[in-house]
Symmetry: C2
Subunit: 423 residues, 2 copies
Amino acid sequence: MQTPWEYRYAHRTQKMGSSVIRELLKLTEQPDIISFAGGLPAPEVFPLKEFQQACNVVLQNDGAQALQYSTTEGYRPLREMIARHTVRHSVQITADNILITSGSQQALDFIGRLFINRGDYIVVESPTYLGALQAWNAYGAQYISVRADEHGMVVDELEAALRVGPKFIYILPNFQNPSGSTLSLERRKKLVELADKYGVPIVEDDPYGQLRYEGEHIPTVMMLDSQFRDEQDGEYTGDGVYTGNVIYLSTFSKLLAPGLRLAWVIAPPEVIKKLVMAKQAADLHTSSFNQYVAYEVARGGFLDEHVKLIRATYKERRDVMLEMMDEMFPSEVRWTHPLGGMFLWGILPEGVDTADVLKIAIERKVAFVPGGAFHPNGGGKNTMRLNFSYSSPDTIREGITRLGTTLKEVLHKNGRPTWSYDR
Amino acid sequence: MQTPWEYRYAHRTQKMGSSVIRELLKLTEQPDIISFAGGLPAPEVFPLKEFQQACNVVLQNDGAQALQYSTTEGYRPLREMIARHTVRHSVQITADNILITSGSQQALDFIGRLFINRGDYIVVESPTYLGALQAWNAYGAQYISVRADEHGMVVDELEAALRVGPKFIYILPNFQNPSGSTLSLERRKKLVELADKYGVPIVEDDPYGQLRYEGEHIPTVMMLDSQFRDEQDGEYTGDGVYTGNVIYLSTFSKLLAPGLRLAWVIAPPEVIKKLVMAKQAADLHTSSFNQYVAYEVARGGFLDEHVKLIRATYKERRDVMLEMMDEMFPSEVRWTHPLGGMFLWGILPEGVDTADVLKIAIERKVAFVPGGAFHPNGGGKNTMRLNFSYSSPDTIREGITRLGTTLKEVLHKNGRPTWSYDR
């Protein structure tokens, strides 16, 4: 049906693309497909009983406020709780440094709205988070990709990118989506130093920071920036004052439940003020009810306990996936050993296109995300993202078996490795 | 504190303004001020018990899905329920014509994102809804204001505006925010006819449609457009097929609770597809939990019953406000008699600036919104918006008494009317 809207789209609408991941999520609805394509938390770890109790408490004690319009900044007790947690583990901030957003995706969108003029350069890792690319494509961003390996962004290659004059650097330091890699302490320090040298600020996206399954916690880039400034000032006081160079994003989606759409931004107060204006125009405020409920669930230290269950559950699933890959995958395939998070990254021989592999995999009733989409400037066609948080260990065993069969079929056509001969 | 973000704002950020209404809302936090400035529903009509029951049912039966990521389009049973309701009362649509948004504000933002290029003209009533202006200012919209009176947009003056070549017409036909006026049936028909003549589509924003306290329901512009097309086709079948010329917005904020942030858009399927892409980039999806809970509360005809309570409550408050204004306001002040909704519109003599009046009113511990901000191209400085839904009848009596005193003070300085002599 032709409507008068047809010829009235704005120029930015032409560039909208549907997310590969979102489209693939539709596959997960077919019950016979084992999908490692999504990025879903395990529903088994949702604290249903605590939610139910919290809903009852909130509606009994604060029903009228929880269901009413509220301030754009977010529910103050929730912001104060996040501030306290941040002060304890990272830098000195207050609730005035915090805006509650409807998921981190909204924070990414607002950062685009506030900072990206058409044609502006943003430094990203390659591969990087697809949702950020989607958000910023709408504002006409261009990307400078810096190569990443199993220790995150190869910071030695960052300086050339900074000399181009980018608006900011976007980095996911912990158990990155999609690659599962973690930026080493040394590289974080170097990143902070280079960012300071060129005066380029940083957006640190940290949805998985608390989901570490082995090794020691590495300080946030936000915290290292504070220490660096302290050292520069000549007198190291170690008081961890927030410098404002790093805008930090995190979320309740992985700690509580993504269905609430609750995340937060830490930024300098003057940036928070602008973010608040953007949010007023975009959706007035995030659901007050969900903010009350999340606060009620989380207060009193529940999250610190609950995250242990999440870690144990996901660690087991990661380990099962790694073991099965060892057993089932052909020797030409390599993969990352993520120290936390929800994703593994598979690397096939150069010349193999995982988008082609996916088509066969779906026939074998297993799915993943081809890695190409995560590389804003091309490349990575031979890579794939596998999620290990959502499926049960038994499902992972079966799924990786199917995927191993698929990969052998693709790589060893006619019983011998074909990829290196035929292409 | 100076941060490297300071010099990095995008051009659109310079034009962001904080909403007058949102800033004024902060006044309502002072307990001794009676505020008619907000646009809040009465918390007394929130169905707390039903919410509590719904939360329990949802978490018991569908907890894992309700707390998980979900599709961008929205929870299908909720969309199907809205479609059924629309088919019964307006036009033939299906769930594929519906996107769930995080409040109507988000729908307005997405419409701007999809359709507004910098400099595009949008036809609006003057006064019009401030939230729409806020949303579309971010995309560089310009406005053609068409005068409105107590029967809504003066449609006789619309044709000149349409000849400028606007992107679309934005109209709030029922109990408009801010003026409380309702577009007459005759004017609606003329609007549809003129829009068709010039091929300009319509955005119909209808948050209050069900909150009518007197008179007969008037068909939506969306429905009249369908009838008009039917008549044009020569054979009037009266089947009410949705033409796609009108994008229609409505919300659960006034029927259930604004704290849920749940609204919907009705649009042609191809526009819905683009809206879905915009939403993917903006916040992935609206809280699945809230969609499940709203569906659970609303299903089985609860809303049809519940809206009667809301109507009775607001009608009483409107009547008390009108009576008190009759009694307390000086004779130079005129006001609308809204047939529904949440707002009254006061008109002071030309030359009086209600922004000045507000300053005095706040000293007298009463607040309203000065009307100037609702006029995108200036004018209306002598007008004011009063909300009657939020305050109890007794509070309304006291507040209007205070406001009457303030107005007499302003208009009758030295015991005689001053506005017509001194200015």
